[in-house]
């Protein structure tokens, strides 16, 4: 099968979630906008405030808006004593709703303001009450303009919903983000095409409603609305039978995470579980999602939990560190650390081999005096992470420049000379294939990054699940992981994370046969 058709298999489920999210946001946006429109029409001062606010929201990049709801909801949840989910549907819904409001509000308010004053005078003159005037005259006359606004909002919302992937809400964005990270362009294309087709279809249906209203063909408007409603209902179908054995596996936004998620997912599917993936989660949100039972399990790295979640800056030997993390996770969050997978994915400063040789750099200490002449390329998070601060405390590095890249592009930047040093990952297959020199850390500033398998509090006593996963513990050598990662990351003859996971399973002797 072609990679594109292969990728299209993931579409129906994500499309349904995508449509539900966008339509829920549109409906909520309407519910908020309509009263504001009526109110604004009666009060120009309010109209200025509401339109000003809605325009302001529109200037915030949608990704940032989504990200802002995460801490906001966390804070709110803490305020009311917990229970408000900061990840997934809710933050996505709220951010997209804010996005949907402006076009609806603007069209409604200007539409009302542009009504023929004579018609309004006549409505008053024949003795309509304020409500009758709204219902019989203003609403029907403003409806076509309002519908145009609703169409704009629908297209905008469907487009922006792809970004909800980053806060853990499944959408067609899952395919786009995963494809972008693994350079699986068929996946990206399938995601984009589906999102665009969805937007076009919804827009066309709403267009029929709009024309039906404008030309007073009520039947046409109702039929189009009914088709849309049926579509939304059908989209909820996968959500009806809550399979009791559904396991949601989280993954961050790089190839290794996708491969490991599939490795675990395939194993669970063979045991009869229904598996869902929430991929592309940021490091900062994924542990919270697990602690909140929004995902059931995922693979993290010891150093990440150590520095980001536990806020530790001291360095311990690998085994003691993993044990300490296990105690802490159980005590503080009820999270079970099932065990390390057997390989490390540490931050590893890497340089082009010839470059390192020519400059005589083998360790981070050697890098210090040379750093003012060198450009650092980092992944998207690294420069803001405590590890970077810790490394700089140990080694006073002063690079000529430091730029964040998506992981894939970071390696390319090193190759092309846009960067001289990168914050690579020790399990990355490209270290070997790109002939990179990994610099040693003589002052032990970089903590160890054992891959560890974490289970949500809801599965603390799930012996069946633990038994299924335990064979993975200490069973994945770093060479195998590197190779699997490279299968996905390489530029030609790329494998999908599914294929790489199957290969890895066989390689470590846990394949299906």
């Amino acid at each position: 099968m072609s990679p594109f058709l292969d990728a299209m298999h993931r579409v129906p489920d994500l499309l349904a979630q995508h449509l539900l999210l966008a339509m829920a946001a549109l409906a909520l946006g309407l519910a908020i906008s309509l009263p504001l429109i009526v109110w604004s029409a009666r009060s120009p001062a309010l109209a200025r405030v509401t339109l000003g606010f809605a325009s302001l929201v529109q200037t915030i990049p949608s990704l940032a808006l989504l990200a802002l709801f995460f801490p906001l909801l966390l804070w709110l949840s803490a305020l009311v004593g917990g229970g408000i989910p900061a990840l997934g549907f809710l933050p996505s819904l709220l951010a997209l709703t804010l996005y949907a409001i402006l076009p609806i509000l603007r069209n409604g308010v200007t539409g009302l303001a542009q009504l023929d004053p004579a018609v309004i005078e006549a409505a008053d003159g024949v003795g309509m009450t304020s409500w009758q005037k709204l219902r019989l005259v203003e609403a029907p006359l403003v409806a076509p303009v309002l519908m145009a606004g609703i169409r704009t909002a629908a297209v905008l919302t469907i487009g922006a919903a792809t970004l909800s992937t980053t806060v853990g809400q499944p959408s067609l964005g899952d395919m786009i983000f995963a494809g972008l990270q693994t350079q699986n362009w068929a996946l990206v294309l399938a995601g984009c095409v589906s999102a665009a087709a969805l937007a076009l279809a919804v827009d066309a249906l709403l267009g029929l409603v709009e024309r039906g209203i404008a030309t007073r063909k009520r039947k046409q408007a109702w039929i189009a609305l009914a088709v849309l409603a049926i579509g939304v209902l059908a989209a909820t179908a996968p959500l009806w039978p809550r399979q009791s054995h559904t396991i949601t596996i989280g993954a961050k936004n790089f190839s290794e995470q996708y491969v490991l998620a599939r490795l675990i997912g395939h194993r669970l599917e063979r045991a009869g579980y229904h598996v869902r993936y929430r991929e592309g989660l940021g490091s900062a949100v994924v542990f919270g999602a697990l602690a909140g039972d929004q995902i059931d399990l995922y693979v993290d790295y010891a150093g990440t939990i150590w520095t980001n979640e536990m806020r530790r800056s001291d360095i311990r030997p690998r085994a003691r560190m993993v044990a300490a993390i296990g105690d802490w996770a159980q005590r503080e969050h009820g999270v079970t650390l099932l065990g390390p997978l057997g390989f490390e994915n540490a931050y590893a400063f890497a340089m082009r081999q010839q470059d390192a040789k020519r400059r005589g750099i083998a360790s981070l200490s050697d890098l210090v005096p040379a750093s003012p002449d060198l450009k650092l390329g980092a992944d998207l998070e690294f420069l803001d992470r405590p590890e970077w601060a810790a490394i700089r405390r140990a080694y006073p590095l002063r690079f000529a420049s430091a730029h964040p890249y998506a992981p894939t592009f970071m390696y390319q930047a090193l190759k092309s000379g846009d960067a001289d040093v990168i914050s690579a990952f020790s399990s990355d297959g490209r270290i070997a294939t790109d002939h990179l020199t990994v610099l040693s850390d003589p002052r032990h500033a970089i903590p160890s990054y054992d891959a560890i398998l974490l289970l949500a509090p809801g599965h603390a006593h799930d012996a069946k699940l633990a038994a299924l996963l335990r064979p993975l513990v200490n069973h994945i050598p770093v060479e195998a992981m590197r190779e699997a990662n490279y299968m996905v990351d390489r530029d030609t003859n790329k494998a999908t994370p599914d294929q790489a996971a199957d290969w890895l399973a066989k390689r470590i002797g846990l394949g299906s046969e």
């Binding site: 006549a122 024949v126 009758q132």
Partner: protein
């Protein structure tokens, strides 16, 4: 003068004042309008005549003074109830563009929760429009036809009082004359009290029983057409009457020579 028809409403204005910022549009006007008469309110633009008219159905609330209809203060009932008892016709007509002619005419009945039944046809008869116009949309009508619909709509709830704000201002002279006569006829037949704002003295003289001339927010003349033509209306009124009279004389002269 014959006794007023029982349905017609009397209007009383008592020291009515309305300002727009520093501008006084209506300046302390007191006025008695008996039931059943046709009053024309004449004046140049900005004289305050439209503002004065709209205080009667409270489209404009006066800053001071009271308006009474058959003795009852109009401010004491909800404006929509008041307006349903009063017909209102204005220059821009304001037909509801998304409703058919029939729906426009019957809107008052709908507001009252009444079935239109035969009433739409009767109302279209009253304004000389074919009954099959009921299914047309307003944008398919000529200006004159539209204003006829406007008049029919105003008559739907059998009001005792008609307020007309430059009702024929946008019409061609022929239509204007026809519709003017028709309105006067309906006034007599249906037993209405009519107050019509116009800037056209000839129209006022030909249609009204009583002509009020307004200038700078005050009523400067209050007379019958006969009195005005006899020069008893004062300087302001004389100047307004002189124009159509002069035109009539010149037309008569032309006719004589032809």
């Amino acid at each position: 003068m014959p006794a007023p028809p029982p349905s017609s409403l009397a209007v009383t204005l008592d020291s009515v004042t309305r300002c727009y910022g520093a501008e006084t549009a209506v300046d302390d006007v007191s006025l008695e309008i008996a039931g059943g008469i046709f009053v024309a309110l004449v004046g140049s633009s900005g004289s305050g005549k439209s503002t004065l008219l709209k205080t009667v159905n409270r489209l404009i609330a006066p800053d001071a003074g009271t308006v009474r209809i058959d003795g009852a203060d109009v401010a004491r009932e909800p404006p929509h109830r008041l307006r349903r008892r009063i017909g209102y016709v204005f220059q821009n007509v304001g037909l509801f563009p998304h409703m058919t002619v029939g729906e426009n005419v019957a809107i008052g009945l709908r507001l009252e929760g009444r079935k239109p039944g035969e009433r739409i046809g009767e109302l279209l008869d009253l304004v000389d429009l074919p009954r099959d116009f009921a299914s047309r949309m307003p944008d398919e009508l000529s200006g004159g036809q539209r204003q006829r619909v406007g008049v029919a709509r105003a008559l739907a709830l059998e009001p005792g009082l008609m307020l007309m704000d430059e009702p024929f201002g946008a019409l061609d002279p022929v239509t204007r004359d026809q519709l003017g006569r028709r309105v006067r006829e309906l006034h007599d037949r249906l037993g209405l009290t009519t107050i019509m704002v116009t800037h056209d003295m000839a129209e006022a003289l030909l249609l009204a029983d009583r002509v009020l001339v307004m200038a700078k927010g005050r009523i400067v003349t209050d007379a019958t057409p006969a009195e005005l033509l006899a020069g008893k209306g004062g300087a302001e009124a004389d100047a307004l009457v002189a124009v159509p009279r002069e035109q009539a004389h010149r037309l008569a002269e032309l006719e004589r020579r032809a």
